[in-house]
């Protein structure tokens, strides 16, 4: 997440070497660490041209894996947008016992290895657990080893994203408008809907997009909870592993390119949204 609003001042004209050195170091670092490996994947995926790339993506199993990845991530992002906003609203506006603990818990999902997340979810919701067994026998809902398990895993893994983008905006929000609306007789819900929410909308959107982009590449938790049946519960990242393992680098890279391009587009979008946010 790029910190909004901070711009470095112009470097001192007398000694530009330090500044140039810093820039060169940053660019080289980024290039070696991010750009070169990405370029390798793109080159790999395009070695049979665009037609080859398209053919690899349009194989039923690959295409299904991509669709599954995107719809589960989109559903997760939607839920995150609502629940993340609610959480940050509660954290900023209300005082209650245990608030500090809750505040600390928000970031915890980022610290838990995602593989552990997966195991944890299987223990909790798996068909053998009391909860999972009950859901399946009473409602016929299979959570783990089915697409709902993927959404659940993604929700856990990306929990902090919306909360942490909305929270600072909410904290800085000028409450005069809300007070004015209250004076004019608007109810709490109306105030939230007509005054607070519009001010938060950009940050909610950018948080949701970031979590979406993070979710596309999730592997560790998903490979445990999804069941990984091709054309049913196998996501793109798990498909890519299969293709790498069976020496189909073109297939692996082609699907990777789609995931990568989507993430990149979203990150650009988030960045653009941030700029708008800052200008306001």
């Amino acid at each position: 997440m790029s910190p909004p609003g901070y711009r470095a001042g112009p470097a001192s004209a007398a000694v530009p070497w330090g500044a140039w050195g810093l820039r060169a170091a940053a660019v080289l670092y980024l290039g070696a660490l991010v750009l070169v490996p990405l370029a390798v994947i793109v080159q790999d995926g395009l070695r049979q041209g665009l037609a080859g790339l398209w053919r690899a993506i349009s194989l039923p199993i690959a295409w299904h894996a991509l669709r599954l990845t995107f719809w589960t991530a989109a559903l997760m992002a939607g839920i995150n947008a609502v629940m993340g906003t609610l959480t940050s609203y509660v954290l900023v506006r209300y005082q209650f016992p245990g608030k500090r603990l809750l505040e600390a818990l928000v970031d915890l999902p980022l610290a838990v290895p995602t593989l552990v997340t997966g195991v944890m979810l299987v223990v909790l919701y798996g068909p053998q657990s009391p909860l999972g067994g009950w859901l399946e026998s009473s409602f016929g809902w299979r959570v783990i080893f089915a697409p709902p398990g993927i959404v659940l895993a993604l929700l856990f893994v990306t929990f902090p994203f919306v909360v942490r983008t909305v929270q600072p905006v909410l904290e800085d929000l000028d409450r005069e408008q809300e007070d004015a609306a209250a004076t004019l007789g608007a109810g709490a819900w109306t105030i939230f809907r007509r005054v607070t929410l519009p001010a938060l909308s950009l940050s909610i959107l950018s948080g949701a997009l970031l979590s979406f982009s993070r979710a596309i590449g999730e592997f560790g938790a998903i490979v445990i909870v999804a069941g990984n049946i091709p054309l049913y519960s196998q996501t793109a990242a798990v498909y890519v592993l299969g293709e790498v393992e069976s020496e189909n680098r073109l297939g692996a890279s082609a699907v990777s390119i789609v995931m990568l391009a989507t993430s990149l587009a979203l990150i650009w979008l988030v960045d653009a949204l941030h700029r708008r946010l800052v200008r306001r």
């Binding site: 080893f145 596309i216 069941g227 990984n228 049946i229 091709p230 299969g242 393992e245 069976s246 993430s263």
Partner: protein
């Protein structure tokens, strides 16, 4: 982004390479040829931890000079790729012939390994089932896996050699007339039977070990797996039971010298002696104690009590020609398995 996954794979390889290059550098400086590097698949790890000390003491008493070991255990396919990409294993002990073939194609194995003096298929196993204690669903043979409501586990053939054995075992048994209701030689009926079983598969893990872990965690009624996975699990205190189908495929595990690295490290005498040692009755008995069926007829006879004979045991050569023909026939884009799973999920 799959960079996540890819980065992890590459980081793992990078670390391995790093660890090795420093280790090899050190070895070269002190004394030529005293460290043997074994690149193996995961299943026989416990067997090797017994075998290696015996070989070491033998070697030292015969040659008056110690030999140290460096061991690495990975999934067979991953190990094979690691060796190609510079993990300098002197001896490769893998679960599939294709994984050895890949190393040979990369030019690292230059001798005719299929006619190595001591042999090259060091241990065998069969495709079998693990079922719940007491076998509550009464699973006896392949046909039971297609019954409605039976939950089956088998790993993903794209990532697991074990899963490929499972599918070939199932399909082979079906076309050989080993599955009730499937006429011998009827490929269409065999494919339908494959679909019926796939319909019952709820989880496809990425390796045979992972699949057994899922089963151990209480998921599924049957896991299709190697016989030795079940036996080793039972030795470790797992309560599940082994069911051997009437007709199944013989799994053969190769051990081969990697010439390029052996010569670089000047380890040929020790490496050859180690491979020969693995085929001695003594070593074969150790493999047998760890769930693997022995290649040695005498050892096989003496351990027959633990390894009941299979009514109709077939090899990949007999049934499918070779891996080179079976792999594309079953697992390519238009392969029998790929089409079957598409059919099942498309319903």
């Amino acid at each position: 982004m799959d960079t996540h996954l890819r980065a992890r794979l590459q980081a793992a390889c990078g670390l391995l390479a790093l660890a090795l290059s420093s280790a090899c550098g050190g070895a070269a400086e002190e004394e030529v040829g005293s460290r043997l590097i074994l690149g193996a698949y995961t299943t026989p790890r416990e067997a090797y931890s017994e075998l290696i000390p015996i070989f070491q003491s033998r070697w030292e008493s015969q040659r008056g000079q110690p030999v140290t070991f460096e061991e690495s255990y990975l999934g067979s396919g991953a190990q094979s790729r690691a060796i190609i990409e510079g993990f300098e294993a002197d001896v490769a002990a893998l679960s599939l012939e294709v994984d050895i073939e890949r190393i040979a194609e990369a030019g690292l194995i230059t001798h005719d390994w299929r006619s190595a003096p001591s042999g090259w298929l060091v241990s065998t196993s069969i495709v079998a089932f693990a079922v719940r204690p007491g076998n509550p669903l009464g699973i006896r043979d392949w046909a039971d896996l297609a019954r409605p409501g039976v939950e089956v586990l088998t790993p993903n053939p794209r990532t697991s050699g074990g899963a490929m054995w499972n599918i070939l075992g199932l399909y082979g048994a079906a076309v050989r007339g080993g599955v009730q209701g499937v006429p011998a030689g009827d490929q269409e009926a065999a494919t339908e039977f494959l679909q019926a079983v796939l319909r019952n598969v709820s989880v496809m893990d990425k390796s045979a070990r992972d699949s057994m872990t899922t089963f151990e965690n209480g998921v599924g009624d049957v896991a299709i797996t190697y016989e030795n996975e079940v036996l080793v699990g039972q030795q470790a205190g797992q309560g599940y039971e082994l069911v051997i189908p009437g007709s199944t495929i013989l799994i053969e595990n190769p051990v081969v010298l990697v010439d390029e690295y052996v010569d670089q490290h000047r380890m040929r005498p020790a490496a050859e002696a180690f491979v020969a040692f693995l085929f001695t009755p003594e070593a074969q008995e150790i493999f047998a104690r760890h769930g693997l069926r022995s290649q040695n007829p005498a050892v096989a006879a003496s351990t027959a009590a633990f390894y009941p004979p299979v009514r109709d045991l077939f090899t990949i050569e007999e049934q499918f020609g070779s891996w080179d023909t079976a792999t594309p026939r079953f697992f390519s884009e238009q392969g029998i398995f790929t089409l079957a799973i598409s059919q099942v999920q498309g319903e």
